[in-house]
Symmetry: C2
Subunit: 353 residues, 2 copies
């Protein structure tokens, strides 16, 4: 059994659980070190069981090895999970309360016939996933390198008249040719006034000279995600756009300077937010400063004004201040940092801003 | 207020609910006729309220019109939802039990302070979504046409030595140039032995002459999805592959012949399954025959041996029998049908098999 599962077993003991039903795909992928989909993993001190349907049994048979027993079930999965729990005589089963839908909880609870208890838990796997190991860091760095090369490619091929959708298409195509499984998330390309919507869906708008073109994108490399944002310009940059750009860039620099082990997450967010406010754009930075990224594009830690916990070495997260002026334009600059023992490494630092 | 929301109000009355919290993104998109993301929609006889965070308020302000009041909330969304429920004096609130995570249910329940009741429901919106209206059918047909042209494109450019990932990249790029928002789901390209895994993740395997190349893909056009599978060949087709291909094709033809209003879903599945079994491949068709497709790539109806309900005009679903021989190869042929008043229209019928 791998060390991640062994660690999960320790966590169960600490919480007086003898079983734990994992349903978040990223958590199952983490524990099995494979791209798990449409599956459930029962982690227990009496043996681990992996449930999936017949579409995936061939690949699961190959990657599970000694980590878990494979149980194929087509339909009625909660009946099968309950059967296994009863067979293994597990009494207290943790389940992922933020992931398991109410109906699945209710179904499993019905099947328990009072013989085991379901206990809502959170963070057993997510907390571990916040700190990346060497293998994970290498994959994230590769995902960043792929995204960086796609950006260089698109800078060369971007011309006036291209549609937002076409720019997204070229980026994603290029990343796959570099070995990415695909895009880490739906690529955002927002030209002109569309850039004031932080999560604009690329459409058929054509890029015109002088407009900012905000590109927020990333690669998925073996399940690990990168996440970057740059604003490109074709032609002359408008004075106001330039001014706002420089404010966002400075806010990011100030935040990154403050990042290191022990710093409070809320403090990092505050540094960028206060600088932007001091320049008169206080209400225009409308989201958190950043988020962790790894097997999920958005995962803990969340670099938000509400997070009082401290940054730890091995964490990887985005730093992405923005200023959005509805109807006019928006600027966001996003990089990824890896927390080291002394400070942080901007792993996307080689990419021009 | 649009007719879909008015219909939802009728459903509430029938179920003695005075409120309904919608959390499934596709259901919210359906009710608001927009690409809703990271949002919740409270439907109530006393007014509809749309909750989202500041990343989306600009676009939501534009598409909600008279359908719902917009409430921006950054964090603490369940507290805000509860506030609105209390303010509107709603007593019985349905929630989507298959979608709402246990923790969100528990949080909302805590905030209720006993002043409203949460009632698990399913299908209020999904049942309506099974039957597509004219506007939806046009979008799905466009999504099919885009996928069909991408397939023609890839047939022309496919050469030995290309990686699975590169084929996926070309298909997705091409579909966006045709106006697709993107791929309807992660494109599957499975060459040679990889094709025996129904949901293979494309990798760096290169395509060799004589191998079947299974391609399962679709386009997202304005939120509506197409879903098609074809098996392409470069070079000579192996005798066994040819034989299995013909069995799958015949199974599909027989199933499609049986499709029409009033036919039982399980029966359609059975027709294909029994034919495949009669040819000696009974255990090798390891998934359902098909599924509905629209705002979600997999949605009701499910064409499965367990579904006793009847097919209705306006439904759109896939017909995709397959035979998988682990370690050797797999064949799946997938088309989409639209149920008409008399029978069915194979909307992907123009694509060569």
């Amino acid at each position: 059994m791998n060390s991640r599962l062994r660690n999960a077993h320790c966590q169960l003991r600490e919480r007086n659980l003898d079983g734990f039903l994992v349903s978040l795909p990223a958590n199952i992928s983490y524990l099995t070190d494979a791209s798990s989909r449409d599956s459930y993993l029962l982690v227990s001190l009496k043996g681990n069981v992996y449930f999936t349907d017949s579409r995936y049994t061939e690949e699961a048979g190959a990657f599970l090895k000694g980590n878990a027993r494979l149980k194929e079930c087509n339909g009625f999965v909660f009946g099968r999970i309950a059967e296994e729990i009863l067979k293994l005589k597990i009494k207290n089963v943790g389940f992922e309360e933020r992931c398991l839908p109410f109906a699945e909880f209710a179904s499993l609870n019905d099947f328990s016939r009072g013989k085991f208890k379901l206990i809502p838990v959170h963070g057993i796997v997510e907390d571990k996933r916040q700190v990346k190991d060497q293998g994970e860091i290498l994959k994230i760095k590769k995902a960043v390198r792929i995204a960086a090369s796609a950006l260089r490619h698109i800078k060369k091929s971007l011309v006036c008249g291209m549609k937002e959708l076409e720019v997204a298409a070229e980026i994603e195509r290029f990343m796959r040719y570099q070995g990415a499984r695909g895009a880490a998330f739906e690529t955002i390309v927002a030209a002109g006034a569309n850039s004031s919507q932080p999560h604009h869906i690329p459409g058929s708008k054509r890029i015109r000279s002088g407009e900012p073109v905000l590109i927020d994108f990333g690669a998925d490399y073996q399940g690990y995600k990168s996440d970057l944002t740059r604003v490109l310009f074709l032609g002359k940059i408008n004075v106001l756009v330039r001014k706002v750009y420089d404010i966002v860039l400075k806010a990011q620099e100030l935040a990154i300077k403050r990042i290191g082990p022990g710093a409070e997450m809320a403090e990092i967010d505050r540094v960028a937010r206060e600088y932007i406010a001091s320049k008169g754009y206080g209400g225009c930075f409308t989201h958190n400063l950043g988020h962790g990224s790894g097997l999920e594009i958005h995962e803990a830690p969340y670099i938000s004004g509400r997070e009082s916990s401290a940054i730890r070495p091995g964490m990887v997260f985005t730093v992405e201040p923005g200023i959005y002026l509805p109807g006019k334009f928006g600027i966001r600059i996003e990089d990824m940092v890896l927390i080291t023992n002394k400070g942080c490494e901007v792993i996307s630092g080689s990419i021009d801003k």
